[in-house]
Symmetry: C2
Subunit: 456 residues, 2 copies
């Protein structure tokens, strides 16, 4: 269980990455950049990783080796392998892995009040830590290298990420009971949480202010939350318009729809990750685009809870920055972004009746680059020299992945998480040839099962 960075030369591998403006400007990549797909696709590529950074991508073995400048490196055979960036899970409640497969086929109100809340009453920081370790083990196996988290006992979630080398944007609740007997945002709580986890994390951990939704707090608290987000320059994680009931209730209470009302409170000014956004109208979409909000689309959870169909094609059309999330394992019941990426494509095509909307390259961008940007991780989510070595290796020598055809279609529509063979975050192997390297998997599963049993 170490967190040491490995220098690696990937030898003749198939590379797929979403493209950025940077890629488009590099002349030597022009031949491999597909404008229509907005992807860089390079066969038999050499990829050099040193000290946590990608330092070479190209077809020249000599240059790939020279980039190590004499440092040692290992060689990873790229035959029948595909390398692409790790994925970013922009919405979830990671410790809810403890409630996996115990809460199914219930409607939302029944699910929340009669199943989830009674279980959550038993939670301790130890539960949350072990549930987080399990969730991170699962995400690492599924090629996900970063996640947002919104839950209780956030220190335990952050501790699990630090230990496992996983990128995390973790919510701080930051509310304390004041002398008036009501909740108030505590600047001290926020400042110390942010310092505790962002400090010394080498950029692996970011913090957010938890703003659950428009329906949970009194108006004064939204104003305090907005002021705190500005003052501490914190990201905001919030659920927006998950159900039609939320929209109707908000209209009844405030005379505005959730995005408008949150904006009125000043809560859409900074870096906002808005989960769900199932029930939006044109004005909502224009507002979220104008405020540069990152939407976390959670198709599995929305389907499974019967929350409705988010119109992602319309969001993209409106210029919204869309990314993908799994939501918690209690409403999913897995943390598998391969599934979410595919579902997002299915839903967009099904809802519009147009098979050409949201092509595979766009889904890859949502799952990687858009997600990493939304979580606040800079130079992550794209494979380019100078960018962080956050990448995963997929075994394409499998009957479900052959003939490979268009690699981006294979990743989105044929690949399953079981094909992920290795993955690294920040140059550290978190899984190497199917073995987890920073998590003791057997112990993690056993502890999580034991703490899960303590929830009832």
């Amino acid at each position: 269980m170490t967190l040491s960075k490995t220098n690696v030369l990937f030898d003749k591998i198939l590379l797929v990455t979403a493209a950025t403006d940077e890629i488009r400007e590099v002349p030597e990549y022009a031949a491999y950049y597909d404008t229509g797909k907005n992807l860089l696709i390079m066969k038999d590529a050499y990829v050099s990783v040193r000290d946590g950074l990608i330092i070479y991508i190209g077809l020249d073995r000599v240059s790939a080796e020279a980039a190590f400048a004499g440092d040692n490196f290992e060689i990873y055979n790229g035959k029948n392998k595909l390398v692409w960036p790790t994925m970013a899970n922009t919405h979830g409640h990671i410790p809810m892995t403890l409630m996996r497969n115990q809460t199914d086929d219930h409607n939302l109100h029944d699910w929340l009040f009669n199943v989830i809340f009674p279980m959550e009453a038993h939670l301790t920081p130890e539960h949350v830590y072990h549930g987080s370790m399990l969730g991170m083990a699962e995400m690492i196996r599924h090629g996900t290298g970063a996640a947002a988290d919104m839950y209780y006992f956030s220190d335990s979630v952050a501790q699990a990420a630090r230990q496992s080398g996983f990128r995390l944007n973790v919510c701080c609740d930051g509310k304390l009971e004041g002398s008036d007997g009501k909740s108030h945002v505590s600047d001290n709580e926020l400042a110390s949480f942010k310092e505790r986890w962002e400090g010394g994390s080498e950029g692996l951990i970011r913090t957010s202010l938890l703003v659950h939704s428009i329906y949970l707090y009194e108006p004064y608290l939204y104003e305090e939350l907005a002021a705190a987000a500005r003052k501490h320059d914190m990201y905001v994680q919030v659920h927006i318009s998950e159900t039609s009931k939320e929209v109707e209730d908000c209209l009844a209470k405030y005379g505005k729809r959730p995005p408008q009302q949150l904006d009125k409170f000043g809560l859409l000014d900074g870096h906002v990750i808005a989960a769900h956004c199932v029930h939006l109208d044109d004005d909502d979409r224009a507002l979220l685009a104008a405020r540069k909000v990152t939407v976390a689309h959670n198709p599995a959870s929305n389907f499974k809870l019967g929350s409705g169909f988010a119109d992602i094609a319309a969001m993209v059309q409106a210029g919204i920055h869309v990314s993908l999330g799994t939501d918690g394992a209690a409403s999913n019941n897995n943390l598998d972004l391969y599934q979410e990426m595919r579902l997002a494509g299915y839903l967009a095509k099904g809802l519009t009746g147009d098979a050409s909307v949201l092509p595979a390259g766009q889904l890859i961008q949502m799952a990687t680059l858009n997600g990493m940007r939304g979580l606040g991780f800079d130079r992550v989510g794209c494979l380019l020299p100078g960018w962080k070595a956050d990448l995963q290796i997929v075994d394409i020598d499998h009957p479900a992945m052959q003939p490979l055809g268009d690699p981006e279609a294979a990743l989105v529509y044929s690949c399953s998480s079981g094909n992920v063979e290795s993955m690294m975050v920040d140059g550290v192997w978190l899984m190497y040839k199917n073995d987890l390297k920073t998590i003791d998997e057997e112990k993690t599963i056993a502890e999580a099962v034991s703490y899960s049993n303590k929830l009832s």
Copy 2:
């Protein structure tokens, strides 16, 4: 590459199976039968398989061993394993694996006329054989033990099934050009095809008459097809109401909707497997229920081609026998029924807005028992003494499958095809601890890729 039956004792394994009337009547299973879920769930079970049949299921090791009556048997350690029936894929075009990931993000008409048809013009029996072998390798890895097939060069598809020990219900086209220059159904063709493949197959191969859809033939031919299905007592495989255009065109041409018109031609009288059924009204549903048609629901393909949302909850409510299919790999792009089972649940809950519809146990029944019955395989799809040894072993010692919780929810919503470790059909191991036993996987992939390259 042998097809020998193995005697096996599964030692303390978690067993999950859809229930039949038979299970409900066996007193010793009463304690393990969950009426609400309509499932038999038994922990630490012993399962004995001899000579292709399940001969014991229960908690008594002595009885489990005694059932072999002195014959040799191997022991399969059931620790952290789950056994449930193999799945049945009730609609597809197996050889279209050759076109995987080469035809994405096109609308249906463009896809069919500008992409698929030009490729299919190059097809030979060898293409079809190698594409079929690849599709069967994929399905075996994904826990599927039986499939329907509707394609060209059906002898090649049947040959692949015979070789790999896979259950198949394969279409015969059975049409020849008559002296009038038009297509006519040939009794000789049908009789010889049926005899050639059903004969000597030990029940592993069934044959169907291919009735593509209501929009492809002239009226006289539907009447000939109906007469031939009756005469030869053949199953019928047909696409019904896949798109709204099909329904509109049928109404314009015949003044009836597709199910009504096919029924008028006499084509719904026998054993019918109707693929898609996306656009049905109440009368359509009542008719399909009355005619005991097996519907093959293909959610991935319907989503991906933008065909619309099939209302499975309404079909089940109407008493229709619903099963699951993948359609061809050119419009999916995989043959993974774990995905279809999950999608069917998602879609039903999403479409109705009711998270409680189509509970996991019902989805398991669709994927196994309903599918096997629909394909014409008797005493397959359920784990019970006297039934065929068609079963799969899932490794549940995986971070995405723990805590396991309700086993049926774990199978439907957490499990992915990569967790399937072994599977047998008719007592023959087709995959044993991740190795394919009847298919040379490396050669199969290489041949399929080579033949795929010959399509353009």
